[in-house]
Symmetry: C2
Subunit: 137 residues, 2 copies
């Protein structure tokens, strides 16, 4: 039993972390977060498991931010904001894509719509504060 757990310890840790955080981490961020508690974790394993989870639909890809893919443990469709200054990916739980848009898209396309993603970009509160606070400091 505990042995089985051990066998999947890394895989489980990766998925757990994704599901526990809202930072929408990259492979490298997952690695950096777990490395201290799992010293023999390798980056390749993180990539392998993330790819697998994504392919299975267990996790979702938020897309590529600054050349780096970001992941989301929450596979329910929802809206994101991406800060162009600090690359933060932030959930916007109060917004959602109007139901009828997906249907409209399917009609217009003549294809099959499987998903959609709405992403706002700009500067997050933190970054605006930092600029105003002390740009020259």
């Amino acid at each position: 039993m505990t042995q089985a757990t051990k066998h999947f310890r890394k895989r489980d840790a990766i998925l757990s972390y994704l599901r526990s955080t809202d930072v929408h981490p990259s492979a490298d961020m997952v690695y950096a977060h777990l490395k201290p508690e799992i010293p023999d974790l390798s980056l390749g394993t993180v990539y392998r498991n993330l790819s697998m989870f994504r392919q299975q639909g267990t996790i979702a890809s938020v897309g590529t931010v600054n050349g780096v893919e970001r992941f989301d443990g929450n596979t329910m469709p929802h809206v994101h904001f991406i800060c162009t200054d600090c690359s933060a990916v932030i959930d916007m739980p109060q917004l959602q894509v109007p139901e009828n848009m997906t249907r409209s898209a399917e009609c217009q396309l003549g294809g099959r719509v499987a998903g959609c993603s709405l992403t706002f970009t700009g500067q997050c509160r933190e970054c605006i504060r930092n600029i105003k606070g002390g740009e020259t400091a």
Copy 2:
């Protein structure tokens, strides 16, 4: 005069192509398209000019599809569809993000929203047809 034109010939060609097509090409696609008519064009020049145009806001990035960035000569915000089979990026001119969503996002975020992108994913008409036509053929 014609000399000046010559000096910017490649830059102009890159921008013209982006504005003339709706395939939302990658750097490599731009290169492949222009190479026949501009034999001494180099991929580095395409990357350099695309980066510059994007930074200026002269063109827009549609995002990364299959690890490759795709560009759009149309900088007016509009909706896209991305085919997960053939990686085609297709405009959905009849749809648009509700005006009030951007304002809502800004309120909710407490930051500054500069842009937004709505992208549907799935299988385009072509790919569905091909599957039905002769998957095993």
